[in-house]
Amino acid sequence: MAPSLVLLGTFVVLPVLLDVPLSLMQYDMIAASGRWVGLQNYEALAADPIFWQAVGHTLELALGTTVPLLVLAILFGLVLNRRVRGGPVYRTILFVPYVIPLVASSIAWIWMLSSNGFVNEVLGLVLPVRGVTWLDSSTWALPGIMLVTVWQFVGYYTVLVLSGLQGIPREIEEAARIDGAGEIRLAWSVTLPLLSPTLLFCIVVSVIASFRVFDQIYVMTGGGPGTATMTLVFYLYQQGFGFLNTGAGASVSVVLLVGLMGVTWLQLRMARQWVTYQL
């Protein structure tokens, strides 16, 4: 236990602890010197409209990835749980994106999201859309990032949901069927409530992960066009490493930490309403 505590302490706890005083300083990375400025960094954040845009985009990203991820994971999980022929093959295909390095898939997605790329071709078959300039447009760049994120992680959440489904005792399902429940009623009143602890875990993890999205934005849009895909983490990165404003970057990370803790606490609080641990 001791070695892992040391690792955890050095690489997780210590940086977080050092972060808070850093956010109260203006620190020059090249000269390796700083001075205390109190809450000035936080005031500058509150006064910066781009910071608030970043907050908005982060929340949009959280919603726009968590909802599709969960819906798709539940759908795929329910289908794959039925012992379909070739089930393991489909499971593997769903899971493969999760294993591909995010940076590599982001590079491929740049090409697929170009105005004459694969996504527009497919969309053009079913919808009257022509030549959407995904990563070049302020309306469609963030949805593009959401698309890549959902594609990358749907397999992971499907596997989680599947394992949750397999923990549901068969007797309960059979009893419900004997009582005359149809498929949808079965799913809604029996399966989903028993799945709710797993779903809670998925929601919490997905929201935290979406707050930390970075690779796709760094590779595909650089926060742009303009500030259309600026999220909190990318704002942090720009402040700290683009503008060499280390104190400001630290203050954003403190805001992120407090924000995420708050959001998670809220989710766990609300969980009492809808999560059932036993029928």
């Binding site: 020059d28 990375m29 090249i30 000269a31 390796a32 740049i110 105005s115 004459n116 022509r130 030549g131 990563l135 070049d136 447009s137 302020s138 760094y218 590779v219 595909m220 849009t221 650089g222 926060g223 742009g224 066009p225 303009g226 500030t227 259309a228 720009q238 490493f241 683009g242 503008f243 060499l244």
Partner: protein, 423 residues
């Protein structure tokens, strides 16, 4: 027996203790920030230097793109924080003063004065953005200027005899060069493709009589009609479907590829693109950057300086200087320019008869050298490369997000003023 063994042991120890007849060369690390074809040339040049003399061995290392705020600068910051810096770095010219003003670089004035071919007067007018607060900290490693590349075959088919000299001419001929694709949007050929980066915005602003910063470098000066004029030409052409831009971190490379793949009849890029453009299967030409009618052409230089990090041992600094001097010797400077399209940095390279013959045979390579006389230094403010990132964002808002040009520049100017005012 014991005596013989002892003697043998003593002999062995003596042998091991004697320094080898040939000293192992001093290894110095060289961080560079260009990829693709340019990287191959840097690697081969480093090997050439290592073979040419026994004392110094340069170990090149690709640290990521050297652009402002890019991966190489972050690695450099991390290495400074960790206390183990490389020896020689290819540092972007606008970032040189940022690092120099904090004491991270060695000042080179004395070394230059004593050198054989690296005295200040040996250089072409490329010593822009190498100095900070009166002292020189960098030697020009690669220098480029903005260059217009045009597809002569397509121009001739459209009945246009030569490249455009002003932005008004660009706006007039781009529609003639645009071709709708028969096979769908993928086959369309645009008349013009600009690259939406601050470097080109600087060129258009200066060429129209505008400025980026006030003379005292304390306030932004680019929220003006002169700065907006060029951007307006771009947005107008894009709106009418005669131009398009690429976006994202690889926009520059994508635009070069578009020109090579004949997705555009002309594009405004860098002298350094010539190696990549040479892959084109049609007749292409380089031309001076377009300017504005009745006003002198003024362009920025681009590229990086070779700098020596301050916190390394004196013998490593000396070795680093050896490498830099070799790189800027007339023969090697001419070779680098020939292979890449970057301008040769020293005057004597132009006197090299091989290089003269090369320029005669490849007139495209003579264009950037001609454009050097119109180039000027960017304001040597330590915060300049942060200013440029804010300007870049404004450009993206104007071109991609269709934000009103002058208002966007005005609000960016306010941010820049706040940045420059902060200590």
């Amino acid at each position: 027996m014991a005596g013989t063994a002892l003697c043998l042991l003593a002999a062995l120890l003596l042998l091991l203790a004697t320094p080898a007849a040939a000293q192992a060369p001093l290894e110095i690390s060289f961080w560079y920030g260009v990829g693709g074809q340019l990287e191959k040339i840097i690697q081969s040049q480093a090997e050439k230097f290592n073979r040419s003399q026994p004392g110094v061995k340069v170990v090149p290392f690709y640290a990521g793109a050297y652009g402002a705020g890019g991966p190489m600068q972050q690695k450099l910051l991390a290495s400074i924080a960790a206390g183990s810096v490389p020896d020689v770095v290819q540092l972007e010219i606008h970032a040189t003063c940022t690092f120099a003003s904090k004491g991270a670089l060695v000042s080179l004035d004395e070394l230059m004065a004593k050198s054989r071919h690296d005295r200040k007067e040996d250089f072409l007018p490329v010593l822009t953005n190498t100095a900070c607060e009166g002292k020189t900290y960098g030697i020009p490693f690669n220098r480029s200027v903005p260059i217009l590349y045009w597809n002569r075959d397509r121009f001739q088919k459209a009945g246009i005899s030569g490249p455009p000299k002003t932005w008004a001419e660009v706006a007039a001929i781009a529609p003639k060069l645009t071709q709708e694709g028969a096979g769908g949007p993928g086959a369309k050929v645009f008349g013009f493709m600009p690259i939406n980066q601050w470097w080109f915005f600087q060129a258009m602003t200066w060429s129209n009589g505008g400025e980026m910063l006030s003379p005292d470098m304390k306030r932004a000066a680019f929220a003006s009609e002169s700065a907006v004029a060029g951007l307006r030409v771009w947005t107008d052409l894009i709106d009418r479907g005669h131009a398009q831009i690429r976006t994202g971190p690889t926009e520059f490379l994508q635009t070069i590829q578009d020109f090579v793949n004949e997705k555009t009849a002309m594009y405004w890029g860098s002298a350094a693109d010539m190696g990549a453009v040479a892959a084109a299967k049609f007749e292409w030409r380089a031309a001076l950057s377009p300017g504005f009618e009745g006003k002198p052409l003024v362009v920025p230089q681009g590229g990086a300086n070779a700098v020596i990090m301050a916190k390394i041992a004196p013998e490593r600094q000396k070795a680093a200087w050896e490498f830099i001097q070799w790189w800027t010797s007339p023969a090697e400077a001419a070779y680098w320019s020939r292979e890449t399209g970057y301008v040769p940095v020293v005057k004597k390279a132009l006197d090299d008869p091989d290089f003269k013959a090369f320029l005669k045979a490849n007139p495209n390579h003579a264009v950037p050298i001609e454009e050097l006389q119109y180039s000027r230094a960017a304001p040597p403010s330590p915060k300049y490369f942060q200013v440029l990132q804010l300007v870049q964002r404004a450009q993206q808002n104007i071109i991609s997000n269709k934000a009103p040009a002058l208002e966007t520049l005005k609000s960016t100017a306010q941010q820049v003023d706040a940045l420059l005012a902060a200590p």
